[in-house]
């Protein structure tokens, strides 16, 4: 059927990129492909996850990992196994983490959640939205509001984009972060208005400076008082506004609806999603993205069908994709732990990922994390290797209650199978040779299994997923 062109998806027609993938004899739903897929739609998977996905087959695995559209209960407490629970103790813990207002505790709570949740795709998208609607505790200085925003993002993560934007536009943490806690008609604050168009919905170049000023006027009277949104009609500028070609817009809500009607929104979003799930090293053209954008618009910006189309596409499952993304610090850490089914000190990890550039609840600026090559520099490379070294040697890093380091040092079948799991689940198959030719699987008298894993962490391919 398809022959030569098959090897290079960038030569495919746009429709072909996003055709649903189907398992076949040449392209089986095997361990390699499952591991790749789990690294992207989830935070990686263990040998057990891979076995489960094998058993379920592709379609049911999609349901298992990417199902759960309804986000109503998405923020509920999880027990240590990741089951949603009415369990009072877990709920109590979630409440106390919220009330603690401590960024580090909240980050630890979130990391634990990523590790154990039964809805990893939602959690991954929540992380995506945290970068998209970037808001930092450093400026907001109210951990409760930060936590509530996180729950908001989780609830809407794979639901309706318009619903999410309307909510985020009134989210106290967001408005405080963008200096819009007060917004008087005499001096409209342009910060939120600008970011709504530039970073949240349209992208640079699809609005004018005049639009920013007009939009800012639509949001006059929007205020945060005592941690809550309220509309102050006395401060709302009642004069007519001209926004993106419309002259009939009055309120902030109407303005948001009008922005969401712009044809750029769907391209802006699907480009970011394709970068996020597939590869951010390619300049995707509008033509390539057109089928996705069209669908997203047809679905009235309801996101789940398009997201699912991306992560079940022929492109996503193509070997071209394997190893073509640089891991974020969270992907690195979670992928490592998930591959061997280990638990760890989440606060310690929260601190470590922050130091290598991904402080949860503390994105670097309103643009969020740039991702891709920007994760990498000398400091973060050394930091990432040191992070894995710290994780492996930390006695709190455990599998079934046993310290990872002692399991690795046991020189038993268990130790070998852990190394093998790391390799199979964590390191893209295409890169195995590169890694093993420098740091072979077999430990030697000179280099114990613990040292070997740490050495792997210094290798360039360890950064790829």
């Amino acid at each position: 059927m398809r022959t030569n062109g098959d090897l290079d998806p960038l030569a495919w027609k746009p429709e072909q990129l996003w055709e649903p993938w189907q398992a076949s004899d040449e392209q089986p739903w095997d361990r390699r492909r499952i591991a790749h897929w789990l690294r992207r739609v989830s935070f990686g998977g263990s040998a057990e996850d891979i076995a489960e996905a094998t058993r379920l087959g592709f379609e049911k695995s999609v349901e298992r990992w990417c199902g759960h559209v309804d986000g109503k209960n998405s923020g509920k407490a999880l027990d240590s196994e990741g089951n949603q629970t009415g369990d009072r103790q877990s709920d109590q813990m979630t409440r106390s983490v919220r009330a603690s207002e401590k960024t580090l505790s909240q980050s630890a709570w979130w990391l634990h959640r990523m590790r154990v949740t039964g809805e990893p795709f939602r959690e991954k998208m929540t992380l995506f939205w945290h970068g998209h609607f970037a808001t930092s505790a450093d400026k907001v200085k109210d951990g409760t509001l930060m936590f509530d925003q996180n729950q908001l993002l989780r609830e809407h993560a794979i639901g309706s984009f318009p619903a999410m934007v309307h909510q985020i536009a009134k989210d106290p943490a967001m408005l405080i972060y963008l200096d819009s806690a007060t917004n008087r008609k005499a001096h409209a604050n342009e910060n939120f208005a600008r970011e709504l168009m530039e970073l949240f919905c349209l992208g640079e170049g699809h609005y004018s400076e005049a639009d920013v000023q007009e939009l800012a006027r639509c949001f006059t009277g929007w205020e945060i008082r005592r941690g809550r949104f309220r509309f102050n009609p006395y401060q709302h500028d009642q004069q007519p506004k001209r926004l993106l070609g419309s002259e009939t817009i009055q309120s902030g809500e109407e303005a948001i609806d009008h922005i969401l009607e712009q044809q750029r929104v769907e391209y802006f979003l699907v480009r970011k999603w394709v970068d996020f799930f597939i590869c951010d090293q390619t300049e995707w053209t509008d033509d390539q993205l057109e089928p996705l954008a069209t669908q997203l618009r047809q679905d009235q910006l309801s996101m789940q069908p398009t997201l699912r189309r991306i992560v079940t596409s022929r492109l996503m499952m193509h070997p071209w994709c394997e190893g073509r993304k640089i891991r974020s610090p969270v992907d690195l850490t979670m992928g490592f732990l998930k591959a061997i089914d280990a638990m760890a000190s989440w606060e310690w990890i929260a601190q470590q990922v922050r130091e290598v550039g991904q402080g949860l609840f503390e994105p670097p600026n309103v643009e969020g994390w740039e991702g891709g090559r920007s994760w990498i520099n000398s400091a973060t490379l050394l930091g990432r290797a040191n992070l894995i070294e710290g994780l492996v040697t930390d006695p709190r890093t455990r599998i079934d209650g046993q310290p990872l380091a002692s399991l690795l040092e046991s020189r038993s079948a268990r130790s070998d199978s852990l190394m093998q799991s790391l390799l199979d689940s964590f390191v893209p198959r295409a890169l195995h040779t590169k890694l093993l030719s420098r740091f072979p699987l077999e430990s030697t008298p000179d280099h114990s299994a613990v040292q070997r894993v740490c050495q792997w962490a210094t290798h360039p391919v360890f950064q790829l997923q």
């Binding site: 400076e209 130091e355 520099n377 930091g383 070294e389 050495q455």
Partner: protein, 419 residues
């Protein structure tokens, strides 16, 4: 591709096992390196001639510094009219002459004025200013105003243009800071190190010697390839880590710096200069200038840190007789709107001053001050293209022809006193 060789030249040095034992090299405060110095470190230590070359320290004031409240035109009524709450009264200023005064927090920099070691380039910007932080910062970093995903910065291009002449050299540029590396330093074929802290910049993993050698010799794929990029970056990281360990294992006389993080970054730079590092450009940022609300206290704190840090660096360089070869250039992605907003802050604006400290500067005021009356949509109009200022630095200080680096011809601003 001559510039690619730059990276791989290092890779091609044959190191024997004893020369290159990474753990001991990077071990706590270890510089002994089991007796033998690696080739490139030794070469660096011997490279006496290189150490006379001029050094540029770039300070990025991130967020959009309010130029008008940094250098205040206290004769202008328009300034006081536009800023009923934020204007600084003339009697609080550190006067420069009968027209301008510095913000009162800038005592350190004010002291440099009389020594001819401080310059202001007024009214710097670029045509059709962009008021988005990121877009405007990208313009300042890449010197380009068109393409969206610009991947190279002016310092990256400058560094790549050098090639790497001797294998013993330090990286031509280093970024100090925890933030993502600024685009200014990016280049497709050259990885410039970012260093966040000396302690964290030490690898705790025991690497086998043989594999290090292999790593050095490994065939690197095309520079656009991700694996190739990561291999080059890993090499740079290991080398820079070793160099830092060396610089901080030795005693130097440059210790008197403010304790805030910005001051400590400048201290690290001073130490590297003092131990004879051959790095030509250092890059640091000071973030927080996006003062949309409650500006006075925040701005004052930032200007104080900036002024304390930069003036300490110049003083320490004077103390070790190096001040004439160290130039500090400070810039921000834009200035702020002339009129204050309702939150006791200022919104994104356009033209603003740039600042130089150290070296032997031609005169205090350069460039041209924009009118406070004839505004462009509420903002100051630029009088000097920032690329002309860069051209002045590239040609007059770094000794490089500027058009290739800047991607166009810009007439260089004359910054330096002719001796």
């Amino acid at each position: 591709m001559p510039h690619r060789i730059a990276l791989h030249k290092h890779g091609s040095i044959k190191l024997n096992r004893r020369d290159w034992h990474v753990r001991s090299l990077l071990g706590a405060a270890a510089i002994g390196i089991q007796g033998t110095m690696p080739l490139w470190l030794r070469a660096a230590a011997d490279a006496g001639a290189k150490q006379d070359e001029k050094v540029l320290v770039v300070v990025q004031l991130t967020g959009g510094n309010d130029g008008l409240n940094t250098v205040v035109p206290f004769r202008e009524d328009a300034y006081y009219r536009a800023r009923p709450k934020l204007a600084l009264p003339a009697d609080r200023l550190l006067k420069l002459d009968d027209q301008f005064g510095l913000h009162p927090a800038m005592t350190g920099l004010r002291d440099l004025v009389d020594k001819g070691r401080f310059s202001i380039v007024h009214g710097v910007g670029y045509p059709t200013p962009n008021r988005s932080h990121f877009e405007s910062m990208d313009v300042w970093h890449s010197c380009q105003q068109k393409s969206r995903r610009e991947r190279e910065g002016w310092i990256g291009r400058w560094a790549a243009s050098l090639g790497m002449k001797a294998s013993g050299e330090d990286s031509p540029a280093i970024h100090f800071g925890q933030e993502v590396q600024p685009l200014a330093l990016a280049h497709r074929r050259l990885a410039i190190p970012s260093i966040d802290s000396i302690e964290r910049f030490r690898l705790r993993v025991d690497l086998p010697t043989a594999s290090q050698e292999e790593a050095s010799n490994s065939e690197t794929a095309g520079e656009e390839d991700l694996v190739g990029f990561l291999e080059a970056s890993t090499q740079t990281a290991l080398r820079a880590s070793a160099r830092m360990s060396e610089a901080f294992a030795r005693d130097t006389d440059v210790n008197d710096f403010p304790s805030h993080p910005f001051g400590q970054k400048l201290k690290a730079i001073a130490r590297l200069i003092a131990v004879g590092a051959t790095t030509r450009v250092y890059y640091v940022t000071l973030d927080g200038f996006d003062t949309h609300s409650q500006q006075p206290a925040a701005h004052e704190g930032l200007l104080r840190q900036w002024s304390e840090g930069v003036s300490a660096l110049v003083r320490q360089m004077e103390a070790i007789g190096q001040a004439d070869r160290v130039l500090v250039m400070s810039f921000s992605e834009f200035g702020r709107r002339v009129a204050e907003n309702a939150s006791e802050g200022t919104d994104h604006g356009a033209a603003a001053p740039m600042f130089f400290a150290g070296a032997s500067l031609r005169q205090l005021h350069l460039g041209q001050t924009p009118s406070l009356e004839a505004l462009d949509d509420g903002d100051l109009k630029y009088q000097v293209d920032f690329r002309s200022v860069y051209a002045g630095v590239l040609e007059g200080w770094l000794g490089t022809e500027s058009p290739m680096v800047l991607g166009g011809e810009y007439s260089p601003t004359e910054l330096f006193a002719t001796s």
